[in-house]
Amino acid sequence: MANSFVGPRGRVGVAGHPYSSLILPVPIVCFVGALLTDIAYVNSGGNLQWLNFSSWLLAAGLAFGAIAGILALIDLARLRELRSHWGWSAFGLLVASLVVEFINSLIHARDGWTAVVPTGLMLSAIAALLVLTYGWAWHESRYTPEVRS
């Protein structure tokens, strides 16, 4: 099946490569990573290395996620063919994961065990799910509606 997809031309990008291939994976890696390091923290019985690791992953994921969100908004404004069900869903999921992880980073700023157990771990799991769904939806949005039929 020969899929045609939007871009790279027209999308915000670097030297012809759309940003999505560069920046989109960062919040995904960071937020899924934070879930893993949270689990490692709990399993270690409180080895603070893992809590610090999670905190930095959340901070990096939030920073790059915010950039991804701004660029996605510019793409959505400029390219009519992206304004599909998938395009808007992807954007909404990204924003939702950022909101959850912002709250989560405040929880993770606590000192010690309660930075993760139970609220931090729960939010990390929710956000990991959201951000994975976001990546999937954004990928789907690259296909033009015509070829999807």
């Binding site: 610090n52 939702a96 709250i103 700023a109 606590r110 000192d111 010690g112 309660t114 799910l129």
Partner: protein, 448 residues
């Protein structure tokens, strides 16, 4: 949509706030009310911007007392020692550098703290850099103002505690206890110091002030060594021999941990005429605006006071892992709560004779003031009456007005001392002033 439910629930939870409705006066004395821990989404923070004292402004003292600036234009005076000959030694000191960044939270916290500490007042003598010196004040004509203000000893390393023992001046730098040959009356120390014992300093050095007291028989020194973190979030390795009071042999420098589990002990002072060591302790943060009350306590040899595993005896802190029920079982409660986050850093028992009789043997406590609660607590010197060597009643605000009606910070009290004439001396580190409170007659007895 279902994914929004936990989020909404969480936001609702955050909006509820801490739920800790506590009057600070419920948290003073031997049995403070302790609410449930309330870890907030964003810690309750209130720090006052430092504006300093304008010409003619001064803290407030009770009727019958008089307060005057003994010396102004100092830089971050943190501790005072009144000598028998009338000279007052002032420790001008700040920490050097900032703590290493372990988490994104660390630089944010440092920034908030820098607001509350102001920029320092007078330029440092050496030009730039934090002050690292002991300044001598001499009021030869007895008018309450120092005519002589001269640097006694410079280029120290974040000093805090000082004591005179025999012909030596002991200085507790943040990383070492030092001694210098010193004869009262001397205005300059040029002799090189001798290191008595190394103290825990290092890169983090979270609670850096090392308080110092001499045993009544002059054989031992007691050094307060604060913790390296709030509740061990830098790891247990960073806390070796910290959150403790050390007993150091004055001659040999041999030391042992005298008491432990004291998060940040300061104001080490022996009760006059006794062998009982007292201290004021800064308790842990970020369990809500009304936990954990700071306290004043007599310090028992070998006792464990809970930090970091528990507070006020055996109230377990949920944040510390691994837990240590074996240690918590041995934790004893302190004597007297001062209420939450007041940050007591100075303690002096009244040994003079110029204040009314009710002050005899009572405690003056310098409360540097809170950051971990929206409504300020502390920012005053309180007086606590003693009977039979034990605190009685509630703390009475004695020197107040450090936070003005405009909620701006004129100054913050730290170390306190009683001088030769029985006046109270107060180091004010953001006001860059040393205050002297004397009795002018006609005051009622303190009631509590």
């Amino acid at each position: 949509m279902t994914r929004l439910v936990p989020m909404a629930a969480l936001l609702a939870l955050a909006a509820c706030g801490s739920g800790q409705k506590v009057d600070p006066m419920q948290q003073v004395g031997p049995h403070p009310y302790l609410p449930k821990p309330a870890e907030e989404l964003v810690a309750d923070i209130g720090v006052a911007k430092v504006v300093g004292w304008k010409q003619g402004e001064a803290p407030t003292v009770p009727a019958g007392f008089k307060i005057e600036a003994m010396a102004t234009g100092l830089t971050s005076p943190r501790n005072v020692l009144a000598l028998a000959n009338g000279d007052v030694l002032v420790v001008e000191s700040q920490r050097v550098g900032s703590e290493p960044v372990d988490r994104p939270k660390d630089p944010i916290r440092d920034f908030i703290m820098s607001i509350a500490h102001g920029g320092g007042g007078a330029d440092t003598a050496g030009g730039g850099g934090p002050p690292q010196r002991i300044t001598l004040l001499r009021d030869a004509d007895g008018d309450g103002k120092a005519e002589l203000k001269t640097v006694l000893l410079d280029h120290l390393n974040s000093p805090f505690g000082i004591a005179v023992l025999g012909d030596q001046l002991y200085v507790a730098n943040t990383d070492a206890l030092m001694r210098y040959p010193f004869t009262p009356g001397q205005t300059k120390i040029t002799a090189p110091g001798q290191r008595v014992v190394e103290l825990p300093g290092g890169l983090i050095d979270h609670h850096w002030t090392k308080s110092l007291a001499v045993s009544p028989d002059g054989s031992k020194l007691y050094v307060g060594v604060g913790s390296n973190s709030n509740i061990q979030e830098r790891g247990p390795e960073a806390e070796t021999n910290r959150a403790a009071i050390w007993e150091v042999d004055a001659k040999t420098g041999a030391y042992r941990v005298f008491a432990s589990g004291l998060r940040n002990p300061n104001g080490l002072t022996f009760y006059p005429g006794s062998n009982t060591l007292w201290a004021v302790i800064n308790e842990r943060d970020e369990l809500g605006p009304n936990l954990v009350p700071d306290y004043m306590t007599s310090v028992k040899d070998g006792a464990f006071y809970g930090w970091p595993y528990s507070y006020y005896g055996q109230h377990v802190d949920p944040r510390v892992r691994p837990q240590r029920p074996d240690l918590v079982k041995t934790a004893i409660p302190p004597d007297y709560a001062l209420s939450s986050h007041v940050a007591p850093l100075g303690l002096a028992f009244y040994t003079g004779s110029s204040f009314p009789a009710g002050y005899n043997g009572g405690a003056f406590v310098g409360e540097h003031g809170s950051w971990n609660r929206k409504s300020y607590n502390g920012y005053q010197v309180v007086f606590i009456r003693f009977a039979n060597g034990q605190p009685v009643g509630k703390p009475i605000p004695f020197v107040t007005g450090f936070i003005g009606p405009d909620k701006l910070d004129r100054g913050r009290p730290v170390g306190v001392a009683i001088d030769r004439t029985g006046a109270l001396i107060v180091a004010d580190d953001t006001g860059n002033t040393v205050w002297r409170v004397s009795y002018a007659g006609g005051a009622p007895k303190p009631t509590a």
